[in-house]
């Protein structure tokens, strides 16, 4: 692991090497282990500023360097690629400026993909938030088999999107799949080409599968948030004569506010980068009805070798994610008072 850190240090060219700072920090740490009580407030006195800085560098550097080298640098390279026409070999010489962006933004397939992503963002939160809350509150009651239930609800999330996708693909096979068979038995005829093969249904079918896959994460996160609600609050509200429902509404759900906001943020970012499930279920089809920005750029990059176009598409994807995240950060995560935000979200 130190090898890796050193290697990244050398490549990125940052001056503070984690190795040196580590040894100095530990020496300093030993030297300071004196049995003298520090000043009140726990902060060290004179001469500790440098050591503190070295400690911070030692702790933060490995993560920061790994992150810079394998996340930030490639993203900068993507921006660079987006300004060239490049087929994957030879030097970058064919500079085209913003032409790739123009052709991506004029591409109906990409605009469709962007719309699909936004539909999935909204639908995921609008469907999973109420469902997840309901199931979390249900499973938070003391009931028989509670532990098993909590495990079961999380199972789909643990599966790979690819594996879940392959199973659902079989279930959703037109006519012979079990879903069409069951629907037939109750008198509903599935679409001729199957749910995934019909443009009007395909996107919503993908959303149903995604809900199945990711609801468990919401439930587990909400349950974890519920665990942190002190038992005394329940007892107090019980003594005050509150009903189960009043307790949930006035105590539990408001206290879940931060958890919900964090979850919604993660869900949004996940929806924007959706790739695996779509790639397995539909490959973006039929007739581009389920393309996402990610499937678009992988298609351009790996199948057509249009690296410049793929670069431009990935920068646009990044900008969309960034803008949405900043808006979210500004208008929802930053709220000091929990209640209004929560009420707003509950109505969404």
């Amino acid at each position: 692991m130190t090898d890796v850190a050193d290697e990244t240090t050398a490549r990125v060219g940052v001056t503070a090497s984690p190795a040196t700072s580590s040894s100095e920090a530990s020496v300093a740490g030993r030297a300071s282990a004196r049995p003298v009580a520090p000043a009140p407030g726990g902060r060290r006195g004179t001469g500790s500023a440098l050591r503190k800085r070295l400690e911070i560098a030692f702790f933060v550097a490995p993560a920061l360097l790994l992150f810079l080298f394998f996340v930030v640098v490639p993203i900068i390279r993507a921006i660079q690629l987006s300004a060239y026409r490049w087929k994957g070999y030879g030097p970058l010489v064919d500079f085209v400026g913003f032409k790739n962006y123009v052709s991506v933004l004029q591409n109906d397939v990409f605009i469709g993909a962007l719309q699909h992503n936004l539909i999935i963002v909204v639908a995921s939160i609008a469907i999973q938030l109420p469902l997840g809350l309901a199931i979390a509150l249900l499973l938070n009651r003391k009931m028989w088999g509670q532990g098993v239930l909590r495990t079961i609800i999380f199972v789909p999330y643990v599966l790979a999107e690819v594996i879940a996708g392959v199973v659902w693909l079989q279930l959703l096979q037109p006519k012979y799949g079990v879903i069409d068979t069951v629907l037939n038995a109750v008198g509903i005829n599935g679409p001729e080409q199957g749910f995934l093969g019909t443009p009007e249904y395909a996107l919503w079918t993908v959303i149903v599968v995604l809900t199945w896959k990711y609801l468990g994460l919401a439930v587990i996160l909400f349950l974890a948030g519920l665990q942190s609600v002190p038992e005394e609050l329940y007892e107090a509200s019980q003594i005050d004569g509150a009903s189960w429902w009043q307790t949930q509404r006035k105590i539990t759900i408001p206290l879940l506010g931060p958890t919900i906001r964090t979850w919604a943020f993660l869900s949004m970012i996940g929806s924007l980068q959706l790739f695996d499930m779509v790639w397995i279920l539909t490959g973006g089809g039929p007739a581009n009805a389920t393309t996402t920005m990610a499937t678009f750029l992988i298609n351009e990059g790996t199948k057509r070798q249009n690296y410049g176009i793929a670069g431009a598409a990935s920068v646009i994807l990044f900008v969309v994610a960034l803008v949405l995240a900043l808006l979210y950060q500004r208008f929802i995560l930053r709220r000091d008072i929990q209640d209004p935000a929560l009420r707003k979200k509950a109505k969404a």
Binding site: V4, A28, F70, L133, A224, S243, W245, G311
Partner: protein, 294 residues
Amino acid sequence: MSAVTATSPTTPRTAQGPRRRTGKYTGGNPLVYALALVVVALTLGPVLYGVLGGFRTNAQLAESPAGMPDPWVFFNYAGVLSNPNFWTYAFNSTVIALLTTTLVVVFGIMAAYPLARYKFKGREQIFMVFVLGLLFPATVAIIPLFILITDLNMGNTWWGVALPQAAFALPVTVVILRPFLQALPDELEEAALLDGASRIGFFWRILLPLSGPGMVTVGVLAFVGSWNAYLLPLLLLQSDMKTLPLGVADFSSEYSSDTAGVFAFTTLAMIPALVFFLAMQKRIVNGLQGAVKG
């Protein structure tokens, strides 16, 4: 699903007045159990169907898609288990997931510590770098990443996949661990410092043991994330370096008419992640519960 959907959206809005349901926290309400049963059926249904489908023949599946195995056949599973590729893929998946998890947990807790408990200039800025990192979808960087890894001669290697995966998992790790570490009471740190421990000593002897549950949580997330990863391995790994998700996707497109075989392969491929999760689950839940009680 309809039963659940019907109750949930109405619940946040209605019920200004008290509901009829009495304020008991003990279970026993048949409706609650019925709802739970619906949730379980919908959650497990597709998985169980796949598992059982592996015990049927393609003829059985075609004849009555919704039926049970009759008779039970084992050659689908036997076929997968005697397929050396399956074991190669499983081994690759395991190694890459372990490498990723180790990197993420070690680097993540180290970074989260000063970000949570030191006061210094630029702390929030560094934290923001990681928060913004949540927005860097791996897909944005995937093609340059592919070029970078190949240039480093790490294409088609375990490290070539594990290092970028760890890098992309770090933001969520730091974002989860920081509040976790912040929540540890200040009195603990003051007491340790009073007893003569350095901040590093505090990190090793008190913070690390106490943040075990938090580390398990982020570790499990990183492991599962790596185990399930598809896109990066798809671009980087070929032939006998492939991981299980690639193997599953290959198998299902190569033998698409062999539905029973596909079910058997997917079932066996999902077992390791499920077992791992079941083994860890108690610790995750406990960890998330009351991290600090002593």
